[in-house]
């Protein structure tokens, strides 16, 4: 899923300061799952902002709504009446959701309420880890299902650097060395020989180095 974290109340207060009537728009997919922008977070944030604004003496009217996904027009449409009743929309979706909503509501400011951080997994309750950078050319078969581009701090494709110690990355003792994990996994799979071969440089054109990407599925276009 796409993982994000809600911005601080202080920053959000600054962002919404010019507006008296806002819609806090939640997203029921990724940011809901990572506790940043689902129905519950919309309600909590609305209360917190109302309280903060009352303390400041700034009056504000806040409407709450959560739709299934903010990255699809079909669902965004459900928010159109609420958006039109308010001066601005504070979106708790990922960056893609914010932009999709903004594109749909041309004259209403759409503001980000979440910092989108990464594509990751729920490692355990409350802990999310980055696992994928969306490079556009998946090599996981070679590396035993552990991505060195996303998970090695130096994106090394040909083995660990000299800073791997006791299974941890040199940059942070809380960060696993991806290469330690790759080597352990390939050993368990009996595929350690995968790592003897020279891996040539990445063709980054499939990543965002080739400019903004577009996926066209001719078979699904109507």
């Amino acid at each position: 899923m796409i993982v994000g974290e809600q911005k601080s109340i202080a920053e959000l207060q600054k962002i919404i300061a010019p507006y008296k009537k806002i819609l806090i728009l939640g997203c029921g997919t990724c940011t809901k799952t990572c506790f940043a922008g689902g129905e519950d977070e919309v309600a909590t944030l609305a209360s917190a902002l109302r309280l903060a604004c009352r303390k400041n003496g700034t009056g504000i009217s806040i409407e709450e709504l959560t739709i299934e996904r903010q990255c699809e027009n079909e669902f965004i449409q459900e928010a159109a009446p609420a958006a039109s009743r308010n001066e601005a929309v504070l979106s708790l979706a990922c960056g893609a959701g914010v932009q999709a909503v903004a594109r749909r509501f041309g004259t209403t400011p759409v503001l980000p309420g979440v910092n989108t951080t990464f594509i990751g997994v729920l490692e355990r309750q409350g802990i999310f880890t980055e696992e994928c950078v969306g490079c556009g050319d998946c090599r996981l078969a070679l590396y035993g299902g552990i991505c060195p581009i996303a998970r090695c701090s130096k994106k090394l494709l040909n083995g660990p650097c000299g800073g791997s110690k006791n299974g941890k990355c040199e940059i942070n003792p809380d960060t696993d060395c991806a290469w330690q994990l790759i080597i352990e996994r390939l050993t368990a799979l009996g595929q350690l020989d995968n790592l003897r071969t020279y891996i040539p440089p990445v063709d980054w054109r499939s990543s965002n180095s080739g400019g903004p990407r577009k996926l066209v599925r001719e078979d699904h276009i109507i």
């Binding site: 701090s153 130096k154 994106k155 090394l156 494709l157 040909n158 083995g159 660990p160 650097c161 000299g162 800073g163 791997s164 110690k165 006791n166 299974g167 040199e170 940059i171 942070n172 060395c177 290469w179 330690q180 080597i183 352990e184 790592l195 003897r196 020279y198 891996i199 040539p200 440089p201 990445v202 980054w204």
Partner: protein, 310 residues
């Protein structure tokens, strides 16, 4: 391994002599004399001088400029080049530029992560890794082709080096990685500082068993310790460093004013032990901020005078 020596360092290693290289960090400023002063202390006591490339991710005078000052002063540089800060276009361009300035040795590295440095807010690059850089430099040299396959008008004929850390984990994979570096183009290897001789001997034996000591010259790294504090700091804080407790004790058991002498003594003992290890072709002395001691160390180690090269 490239057959026709292209540098003084390669000449010396090819002739079977025990090589001495030293490290020199460029200044955090733009004064060319600062490089010249440090380099002068290394002249005549080292066969080549490594100029670091923004080591520990702290901005310094560029490696290529530092190397160029050395060439001007009659010293032979080893240009360190990291993949942290430059993409493949900039790396290849700098290699061509370096060769045009008379730089003949290169050490290909990935580089310390920028979070260790003074500007942890910087974007890193890592377009290619150190092994891919080795491969690129060798292809430029041997086939005259850049990474796009374009035929270069004057290919850079570099003596190509790589780093190895026998003390990092996972230990068993270190030899596979060394083999990959040599396969990709490394003619010589400079290792992380050796304090744990036992582990280094094991690593060398594994390298020899894999036939790697026949395919690349291995220069073992040494760093004289200045104080017990430095020993402890390096053991605890410097990534990839292995300093046994016995070495730290030796440094802390002598009075503070004698610690530097003890550090030099340990360094000399280490060099003597390294010379006895089959497959070790030289030492790489990294006397960080203590370049003036290199001459004493080389002299006391019985490695003077340095060989003449035609």
């Amino acid at each position: 391994m490239s057959t026709e020596p292209v540098s003084r360092l390669q000449h010396i290693l090819a002739a079977g002599a025990f090589a001495v290289t030293a490290e020199c960090g460029p200044p955090r400023g733009s004064d060319p004399d600062a490089v010249a002063r440090r380099a002068a202390t290394l002249k005549g006591c080292s066969d080549a001088v490594n100029i670091t490339d923004n080591q520990t991710a702290i901005v310094r005078m560029s490696s290529i400029a530092g190397c160029s000052h050395l060439v001007r002063d009659g010293l032979e540089p080893v240009m360190q080049m990291v993949t942290r800060d430059r993409n493949r276009i900039a790396l290849q361009s700098d290699i061509l530029g370096a060769y045009s300035l008379g730089i003949r040795n290169i050490l290909c590295l990935s580089g310390d992560h920028q979070t260790f440095g003074s500007q942890p807010d910087a974007l890193n690059v890592f377009d290619i890794d150190s092994i891919q850089l080795l491969h690129a430099v060798r292809t430029m040299r041997d086939q005259g082709l850049d990474m796009s396959g374009f035929q270069l008008s004057c290919p850079p004929r570099m003596f190509i080096g790589a780093a190895a850390n026998p003390f990092a984990d996972p230990f068993e994979y270190r030899i596979v990685r060394l083999a990959k570096k040599i396969d990709a183009g490394a003619d010589f290897i400079q290792t992380q500082c050796v304090y744990n001789l036992e582990r280094f001997r094991t690593w060398m034996r594994m390298a020899a068993d894999a036939g790697l000591t026949e395919r690349a010259y291995i220069l073992a790294g040494v760093t004289p310790l200045k104080s017990a504090g430095m020993a402890r700091y390096m053991a605890e804080k410097v990534a990839g460093m292995d300093i046994p407790e016995s070495v730290i004790s030796r440094m802390s058991d002598v009075p503070g004013e004698k610690a530097a002498d003890e550090g030099i003594a340990i360094c000399l003992e280490t060099i003597a032990a390294l010379r006895e290890i089959s497959g070790v072709h030289g030492v790489h002395i990294m006397a960080i901020g203590w370049e003036e001691k290199v001459r004493d160390i080389v002299e006391s180690a019985g490695l003077m005078p340095r060989p003449d090269v035609p």
